[in-house]
Symmetry: C3
Subunit: 139 residues, 3 copies
């Protein structure tokens, strides 16, 4: 992974074999990012996306392997108890163009991933909402 | 729904049971937004997305219910005759990760929705294009 | 196609019958854009999206025709050897809301396409990576 920062925007290239969530964390820690929005495209060979069953307050995971093109990868970087936190959702098209996606648990880059991080000048923390069963933005 | 503004960016949390298009309108009116781009992720339990049949100049609606993860939610806020106007498209993955989407008519949040609104310092109005059958950007 | 620039953001309307990649190039050349991120929505009647087979280092194309709503269109404008280069991925929902997408080769607008281009104040070139078989960001 390599990146450059231009004012409040970071452009990154995540490389073959690297895991996307780990690289987002690497960039965020190095640049001390407290709040940001992420946008990316690229190709992955393996990814796991979850879907939250609201009734059970539990994530179920779907795993995919093969040649996939990321068609959406969007999310936020912020903090929980002042520490790094990221939340990404992704979808990707398979060899026939069919698209699958959800809450991103893991994605291994197969060719390249091009990411833009819009750093926001502020802070938003999270709290665990027991009713919902998720960590939500605390304002 | 709650939100905070940081310079030209708004970060919002839309809550369980709330409808996304209504909350976008609430934020836009409170903040007097004339032009913006929207990006979001989250989970919805019910949504309706349309597809425009260009031959008939009519939208057809597809309704979905269940546990869905928003994988893309993108759109614009601007004005028509000076009044608030929004245009959003959304896609979401179901329990198996299959993704469905289109022109957003309605989406009820099931857990949370995290939205970033990029406010643009300008104005673009719309006009009804009779040939196309839609309200288009007027420059 | 028509557009307006507001500070570092460009809002464009791409019209019926126009091809999206060509119009992105038109805007980038007129505005002398060296680096940017793109986000768009709209409707297309015909599009071709590729998937890169990493083993063969070759793109395979899937073609779609009909009434489709763009649910994600994201990508980058930058340079290769100093010349314009764009890289877009797109997904779109069909008449039943099923979503298809991948690396964008071609997309013909059927109604309208609303695009936001975030111009970034910097430059990133590309190099041909022989191992991967693609043109990657050079930092």
């Amino acid at each position: 992974m390599e990146y450059r920062k231009f004012d409040d925007k970071i452009i990154a290239r995540i490389d073959k074999g690297e895991e996307i969530l780990e690289q987002v964390k690497n960039i965020a820690l190095k640049e001390n990012i407290k709040l940001a929005n992420i946008n990316a495209l690229g190709a992955v060979g393996e990814f796991t996306v979850g879907v939250f069953k609201t009734g059970e307050k539990k994530y179920y995971a779907n795993e995919f392997k093969g040649d996939f093109e990321i068609v959406s990868l969007t999310g936020t970087i912020n903090t929980m108890n002042g520490e790094f936190y990221s939340h990404l959702h992704m979808s990707a098209g398979d060899i026939e163009g069919k698209v699958f996606g959800g809450h991103l648990n893991k994605a291994i880059v197969s060719a390249t991933c091009e990411m833009i991080i819009y750093v926001i000048n502020g802070e938003v923390d999270r709290y665990k909402d027991e009713d919902i069963g998720l960590n939500l933005f605390k304002f």
